[in-house]
Subunit: 74 residues, 6 copies
């Protein structure tokens, strides 16, 4: 304990993921006095074709105009 | 807010995922008055070798008889 | 399959939750041809003291000015 | 590692939860050789007003006929 | 994006939760360049009767000897 | 119901996953009297570059000394 799940749209480098694990673990230790060995963190890198925001897939939202997915349902 | 995680056994096309994101976002807006921009949706396509139902992996349950995984534990 | 988890900041009425379950199940059936009986949905109503956005607890962000939590870390 | 989340519709007794934790930990140790101390398990008891299956809240599905929630959306 | 879920055994004060939200959001901004407004964080405070580690409920593990739950399954 | 998510650092064989699904389903049936057909289990095999424990990525923690990731933040 505690267990932390971090879902990111897109990917991160190994170094970025290592820094995030260090930051979040430090917060658990400093704020809650947790034993760092018990802090488990999972980082899920989610494809922008699988992450929706504002009613659209992020892949569509960020696609160059013209080749975005036809407006769903219409 | 809100955050929605959808776990599917197997995969879906990009168009299907876009339609699902639109449907679910519409529900949050119409039923709860949420701001669509704040609605985050993650779709996780889970291999049938990693999805269990009825005590079996779906990959085994749906495999042609004869090459299914030997009944676990026996 | 599929399994859907919906996390809301604050609460919803039973009728709203029932409507959301109907909407999301309908989307799984219409878009992916899923069997409605296999569609499981969990709605988690999260206190605004446990939901953070923009670096603040929503409870603090939405609190009347003056009694908001002192800016964390300062 | 590993981390296991178990979502139940309704509640379970403390003894049932203890037995489930023992069973699931034993499986991780026997099947994967995991160190039991590293196996974290969270059991979430979800109200039947927050758990949907077959397009309905379980609370409505299991309610005595006559006082179930009006069919959503109609 | 991103979405972060933090599960704690036991509870935390509002100030601790606010500090954690600030820390974790800062990490997303500094390490990944994320827009803080898009960073959603949910903190789940899990009863020690619902959190298992090392094959036991934490409530049993930390209970004064003598009234701990009878060893499950025996 | 119930829905179980199992996150593993690293991977497991199909046979191991099948055995785990059988074990965990059996526990739900024996301890809670659940209908096995309603028990859904998802096993997520997480790369050790995406799983943190003790403030480090497991990939770094278990890397042969000398080529581990430079200590984050320094």
């Amino acid at each position: 304990m505690p267990f932390i799940s971090i879902r990111l749209a897109g990917s991160a480098t190994k170094a970025q993921k290592a820094d995030i694990v260090a930051d979040v673990t430090r917060s658990m230790v400093e704020r809650l006095g947790k034993n760092p060995a018990a802090v488990q963190i999972v980082i899920e890198e989610v494809s922008t074709e699988n992450y929706g925001a504002g009613g659209q897939l992020i892949a569509d939202r960020d696609a160059p105009k013209g080749d975005a997915h036809a407006v769903p349902g219409q």
